[in-house]
């Protein structure tokens, strides 16, 4: 099985100049945890997730460490509400790992698990053609197992 058989053919994406508030709204409605950031020709140049948005209010905190020390929650909430005006380019992960449509299933699983990635962009000539989400990956692989 290849990446093209596992992906959702969805081109939902944002640009570097999209605000975090718009991204939050998009993620809420699209039921995705993150979206690719593309240039004017749909080339994938970054990735922004709900984690990036939350972290925008905790600069340098690092949420994966298992512990988070917050001096002042009121200050943090204020920062989070103001973060909406921030631009994607300042918070996105640049040059994210992407796969091509012909990437095999083992490699896709390895990339997603090793990097704790919830969404993996799929590209053709660097342009976005779809995404593989964890839930879709499970669904497709379970179907394969049942065959």
């Amino acid at each position: 099985m290849k990446a093209k058989d596992m992906m959702i053919r969805d081109l939902t994406s944002v640009t570097e100049t999209t605000t975090l508030r718009e991204v939050e709204n998009l993620l809420y409605h699209s039921r995705l945890s993150g979206v690719p950031v593309v240039d004017n020709e749909s080339k994938v140049i970054g990735y922004i997730s709900e984690k990036d948005i939350i972290e925008s209010a905790f600069p340098g905190a690092g949420m994966g460490a298992g512990m988070l020390f917050v001096h002042n929650w009121a200050q943090t909430f204020l920062r989070l509400s103001q973060a909406g005006e921030g631009l994607v380019k300042d918070y996105m992960t640049k040059d994210p790992i992407c796969v091509t449509e012909d990437e095999n299933d083992a490699m896709v699983v390895e990339i997603m698990l090793s990097g704790h990635r919830k969404v993996l962009p799929v590209v053709r000539d660097e342009k976005l053609v779809g995404v593989i989400t964890r839930s879709n990956l499970c669904r497709v692989l379970m179907k394969k197992e049942n065959k």
């Binding site: 053919r9 939902t12 020709e41 749909s42």
Partner: protein, 311 residues
């Protein structure tokens, strides 16, 4: 890649009743729910023919999620703009002889300026990678009647050929931008371009008025046929007589079949044959979409394309 725009998408709830009339209590014999809207219907034709297609438009609420999920199952690409409002529902009531007893279409959601901006941003990106663009169906509330015209102008800047299937003011404004092909939606309409469309001659007259705006091909629906009019020629595309199951997507399938050929070559007779075969094939499905290429090809030889001389 072909992009299809369905700004006012809907879910179609199709009810098949055993009765001939609906002015009494009716129990549904069979009911189905399918994503609807002109561009979405045409996208199914492209997909069956192996053309990469992306469906765009506004979706919202549960009906919107259903629309997106159903389209994704087919492996057609999606790039919807999510809105706070609700995607509309259309109710189509058929009797067991497949005659439409009633069709009730909701108006559709109100689109906010910010949602429109968001759509335009996605639209510009898709334009940079598509060969042909289909704009089809009614406009939701809040979207200006010149919206199709704006999108057509943007497509022309990127040298993307456009096809418009619309009615009313959206059509009038749209044709002013000179799309490549136009299919006026004349369902329930008495006149077009100020001409009462009572017969073939009047249909051709209205089509010629549209051609004057710089349009190259006009497709007019008739009863069991299509008229295809260019500045130089007029064709009638006759469909074989079959037992129609659902006629709702026939015009969309026709446009889809024609675009499939025209995106690569200017072979109008072949395009009309593909359009006719797709149209009749979609009429055989209660879901109103072409089921597969083989079923479509079965009808190729049964589509009668003849040139008319009405001068």
């Amino acid at each position: 890649m072909i992009a299809t725009i369905t700004l006012n998408s809907a879910i179609d709830k199709v009810f098949i009743l055993p009765a001939r009339v609906i002015e009494k209590l009716n129990r549904v014999e069979k009911g189905i729910v399918i994503p609807g809207g002109g561009g979405i219907n045409s996208a199914y034709t492209f997909h069956v023919l192996g053309v990469e297609v992306v469906v765009m438009g506004f979706i919202g609420g549960e009906a919107g999620r259903f629309t997106e999920d159903e389209i994704r199952k087919t492996q057609i690409s999606t790039n919807f703009t999510y809105i706070g409002g609700q995607t509309r529902t259309d109710y189509i009531i058929l009797n067991k002889y497949s005659k439409v007893l009633a069709q009730i279409n909701e108006k559709g959601p109100w689109i906010k300026p910010k949602e429109m901006e968001s759509f335009i941003e996605s639209f510009k990106r898709v334009l940079s990678r598509c060969e042909m663009l289909l704009l089809s169906g009614s406009l939701p509330q809040g979207v200006g009647t010149d919206f199709y015209a704006r999108l057509i102008n943007m497509a022309h800047e990127k040298n993307v050929r456009t096809v418009l299937k619309a009615s009313g003011e959206a059509l009038s404004y749209g044709i002013e931008s000179g799309p490549y092909m136009v299919q006026p939606n004349i369902k329930g309409v008495d006149s077009l371009m100020g001409i009462k469309i009572i017969d073939v001659r009047k249909r051709v007259e209205a089509a010629r008025k549209i051609l004057e705006k710089g349009v190259q091909i006009v497709v007019m629906n008739g009863d069991g046929y299509y008229l295809v009019v260019t500045p130089e020629r007029i064709w009638e595309v006759g469909l074989p007589k079959i037992e129609i199951i659902n006629s709702v997507g026939m015009g969309d399938a026709f446009i889809g079949g024609m675009m499939y050929i025209l995106k690569d070559r200017e072979d109008l007779p072949e395009a009309m044959r593909y359009g006719g075969a797709a149209s009749i094939s979609s009429a055989l499905q209660v879901e109103a979409k072409v089921e597969n290429k083989e079923q479509m090809e079965h009808f190729f030889d049964k589509i009668e394309v003849k040139e008319l001389n009405l001068s």
